[in-house]
């Protein structure tokens, strides 16, 4: 019954937040709700890592190690972001950029957003997987459009239209898959269970290669839009830069991983029928393209949050390359990279939130001497930038090294070489912007000093993960990741 | 025991003979120019005079200035202990080879240059700068020439080179002669003689070696000039050793040594005459013409090497 509760708690919290009166009360409810949600989710993860895949409501919910990894990300980032939200929203209230109604809406949609993402990790039926992903789009679109600004509106619109279209294309893929399943196995099995992951993730299942191949193309393009593969990623920087900062953290730290999870699941299923060699080049191609696309935009970027968004595109590319490389090592590396990136990127986005709120601008050119102005956020941002570009002793170094190693072992040296080159270039570009913002003597305005406890302490959690996982990954975590990789390899019989 | 004594004698001879050679060159130059010129022994009188004079030391200078003459003399003396003059072996041949020799000279130059700056006089600094400049251009040519000279023996160990060359007999290869010419040019440059430098002038525009020691007087000056002439003899001797090393005493017995001494005297005289001829027949070069001369030496020695390799 745990999954059901994990879904209901955030929905209820959202509803109460919407109904409740008074900011303080809302905040309390919000904090309580998100804490409970994360606790439940982590509990799920714990059970899965202990007992393996578990199902609930018959076959309706299914949580396997693969989903558990993303579930853990949602729990951690979601909790951090919700803590951060309190400080952020208070500040916006003081500034007058948000009013009480919007605050209510914010908390309402925030929890709904969490719920939809949790659903993505827990539903068994792959059709519902699609429904859940579409739901995340709609819900988060409301959050992106929270501010009463033309830009916010524009971002939300682009987000909705592009992702809506993409998802619709993906639906075509789902339908084809289902159709093929019905044709081949319909009379043998119950039609309703045909789209279940638990049923389809089975190497012995052979559907019609032609259909599934076509279906996978639609799925890749459609879900790829949501994941943010170049050149379908253009909604991403807008949405991420216009949304309230905690939401940006969720978007690029969690939502994209959810989409990636869905894509991986479909790829696994498709892999049974059409084999790996049809799929791997697509993943690697999409990944490399995303990495190379991101570089120029980061190099000549002026907007801080948009720069981070493009770096997210790059990292989704890295993950895609890792998935395309495949093999137990490749998948493990991909999942580790997912986790580490989620931590580092949410850290960076929240730090960026502090910067923008402190300086009152997202233009990097106007930010100077941040190390002095924000004695905590400044160094943290610097660490985040170094971490996100895969420098040790931070966690992404380990995972990116693993990706590269797996790539060479898996016979993709050129892909890895290109990837490494891209990463190095992007490091240069990001460091250029970061050092211009961080170092140097600050101007007299704004006066030095952090915004407050609520906007600094939450950063400690992801920071801890970024630093600790760089040197030591607890066996429990690596065990879970190995399980997940095993699920993927077990699926992808090559 | 005996040969150690003789080798010591060798050292003493160099130190004592050095001013004589200087005087001899001055004299021959004067005669060639149709003057009577100073007496051959004049340098000795000069040195004695300087030694007894009180010294005037610049207020601006530091202990570097005071120490330099001793360091220079010491380094030159150490060098003298390495070079065989009339015997095949030298006193301290085990301490080092050609490279050490060159670097001992460099050490002396190093201190002279610093002393030149130390007084704060711009002549001194200028001279120091030029000194280092010329030497740094001379060094590559010098080393390649040494390589060419050491090539037949296959070692940079001076005594062995001498021994090997003495056995070899009169060389016929063109390489040998190119090497000799190159080395001669370098010796002139290192000894600070026309056309590279003019030891007899104190015009700030022309002087190189005289610049740094301009401020010196008394004992210090004496030591510096003495070591300059010792260095000159050493370089001449080196030229003789590497180019025509015949007549050096192979063993440490009286007659051989006497013969060696005689040959040595002849060699010095010959070189001295040649040098003075060159000095009176050429004019001093502009400073920035010097690199070409040294470059020529380098090219020559490289040709010499190539020829040596191809034979």
């Amino acid at each position: 019954m745990l999954p059901l509760w994990t879904l209901l708690v955030p929905v209820a919290t959202g509803a109460i937040c919407y109904a409740a009166k008074g900011t303080r009360l809302i905040e309390r409810v919000h904090l309580l709700g998100s804490t409970v949600t994360s606790a439940l989710a982590l509990g799920l993860v714990w059970r899965v890592s202990g007992e393996g895949t578990l199902t609930a409501l018959g076959q309706f919910f299914l949580v396997d190690a693969l989903g558990a990894v993303v579930l853990a990300i949602i729990a951690l980032v979601g909790w951090t972001a919700s803590l951060f939200s309190v400080g952020y929203i208070r500040h916006e209230l003081q500034e007058g950029t948000l009013d009480d109604r919007q605050v209510k809406q914010y908390y309402f949609w925030y929890h709904l957003f969490l719920a939809t993402m949790l659903a993505v990790c827990m539903v068994n039926n792959m059709g519902l997987l699609w429904v859940a992903i579409e739901a995340t789009t709609i819900v988060s679109a409301f959050l992106v459009a929270l501010y009463r600004k033309g830009e916010a509106l524009e971002a939300a619109w682009k987000y909705l239209i592009l992702c809506g279209t993409g998802i619709a294309i993906a639906l075509l893929g789902v339908i084809l898959l289902y159709a093929s399943a019905v044709r081949t196995l319909g009379d043998a099995h119950d039609v309703h269970g045909l789209l279940n992951w638990s049923f389809l993730n089975n190497p012995d299942i052979r559907l019609q290669p032609g259909v599934v191949g076509l279906a996978f193309v639609f799925l890749l393009v459609g879900l790829g839009t949501k994941v943010g593969f170049a050149p379908m990623h253009f909604w991403l920087p807008d949405a991420h830069s216009q949304a309230p900062t905690p939401v940006s953290a969720l978007l690029s730290g969690v939502l994209l991983n959810c989409a990636m999870l869905v894509l991986i699941r479909f790829a696994v299923v498709a892999g049974h029928t059409i084999g790996l060699d049809e799929i791997r080049p697509l993943f690697i191609g999409a990944g490399l393209l995303s990495i190379l696309f991101a570089f120029p935009f980061i190099l000549v970027q002026q907007d801080l949050k948009r720069m981070l968004a493009f770096s997210t595109v790059e990292h989704m590319g890295i993950i895609a390359v890792a998935v395309g490389i495949g093999g137990a090592a490749g998948y493990a590396a991909a999942l580790l990279q997912m986790f580490n990136h989620a931590m580092a990127k949410s850290l960076l986005f929240m730090a960026a939130g502090n910067l923008t709120q402190k300086y009152g601008t997202k233009q990097m050119a106007r930010v100077t001497g941040a190390l002095r102005v924000l004695p905590f956020t400044g160094p943290v941002t610097l660490i985040g930038v170094l971490a996100i570009s895969g420098l040790p002793p931070f966690s992404l170094f380990t995972s990116e090294f693993s990706v590269a190693a797996a790539g060479f072992a898996g016979g993709r040296p050129w892909a890895v070489a290109v990837m490494l080159a891209g990463i190095a270039l992007i490091f240069g570009a990001m460091l250029f912007h970061a050092s211009r913002m961080m170092f140097g003597a600050p101007r007299e305005k704004p006066a030095a000093g952090e915004l407050g406890r609520w906007s600094t302490w939450p950063l400690l959690l992801p920071l801890a993960f970024v630093v600790v996982f760089g040197l030591y990954v607890p066996p429990a975590v690596s065990g879970l990741i190995r399980q997940a990789a095993a699920i993927m390899t077990g699926g992808w019989a090559s | 025991m005996r040969d150690i004594l003789f080798e010591l004698l060798q050292l003493v001879v160099i130190v004592l003979v050095a001013p004589l050679v200087t005087g001899f060159i001055k004299k021959t130059k004067a005669l060639l120019q149709g003057r009577r010129g100073p007496r051959v022994l004049q340098p000795y009188y000069d040195l004695y005079k300087y030694m007894r004079k009180d010294a005037v030391v610049s207020k601006a200078s530091s202990w570097i200035f005071t120490a330099t003459p001793y360091v220079v003399f010491g380094a030159t003396l150490a060098a003298a202990a390495l070079v065989p003059v009339f015997m095949r072996d030298s006193l301290f041949s085990f301490t080092g080879d050609l490279v050490l020799l060159v670097y001992l000279f460099a050490l002396a130059r190093f201190f002279i240059a610093m002393a030149g700056v130390d007084t704060g006089s711009s002549f001194g600094a200028q001279g120091a700068s030029r000194e280092m400049f010329v030497s740094s251009l001379a060094e590559p040519a010098l080393f390649v020439t040494l390589l060419a000279a050491a090539l037949p023996a296959g070692t940079t160990h001076l005594s062995s080179i001498v021994a090997h060359a003495a056995e070899r007999g009169w060389p016929t290869s063109p390489a040998f002669y190119m090497m000799v010419v190159a080395f001669a040019i370098l010796v002139i440059a290192e000894t600070g003689r026309i056309p590279v430098d003019n030891p007899d002038t104190h015009l700030e525009l022309t002087m190189i070696h005289e610049g740094p020691i301009l401020e010196y007087s008394g004992k210090s000056l004496a030591l510096l000039q003495w070591s300059a002439s010792i260095k000159q003899v050493l370089l001449f001797a080196l030229l003789a050793d590497l180019c025509f090393p015949w007549g050096l005493a192979a063993s440490a017995d009286g007659p051989a040594v006497l013969a060696g001494l005689a040959v040595f005297a002849v060699k010095m005289a010959a070189i001295g005459v040649i040098v003075s001829c060159v000095e009176m027949s050429t004019a001093k070069m502009r400073l920035f013409k010097v690199p070409r001369l040294l470059g020529a030496a380098l090219v020559l020695s490289l040709f010499a090497l190539t020829a040596e390799y191809l034979m």
Partner: protein, 212 residues
Amino acid sequence: MMLTATSVILVISALLLVWVKSIMSSIKILALQSLFLGIACLALGAQTGSAEVYVMAVLTILVKAILIPYILAATMRKINIRREAEKYIGRGVSLLLASGLVVFNYVVTERLDFMLLGSEIQTLPHAVSMLLIGLFVMITHKKAIMQGIGLIVIENGLFLLALSTALGMPFIVEIGIFLDVLVSVILISILSYRMDQTFRSISTDWLRKLKG
């Protein structure tokens, strides 16, 4: 057979959508299209006699043929739009291009052997071409609301495909899809309303601030 006929009609209506000028009339066309779909669904229900298909037919007619057009129209009235639908390219050209897309897609789908999927699957090319036309409409029109309409056209095509291949997706999935479509249409109308409030227009020309 009947489904194929329907699908042809749908494609034609979609092409018509490319042709018409006024937004209101395109909404009407959309409603009609959805109605056709509902009817076809009913017929299929009659053929197979499965309750789920009936329910879906009713839902289609209620949601897609009545509710959604109503919402859109209401929004239009609130916005009381002044000018007609503006496009990047003229009607003739766009019609030409759209038909070109359709042809391309027929060529493509020709090359895949769908005999495995059985005869009804002939609707696949039509579905795909509706998808392409929908995209085309979204691309060529400047009015924000038209992009919403394009989205629904795509949805209709897909629904048709689902119907023809496997009597629709599993029931619960279908319900979910309906819900998503409905909510997204509501969102679209809200956003276009706010657009009108902010820019005094719903032309996407105003949505060009976020570049680079």
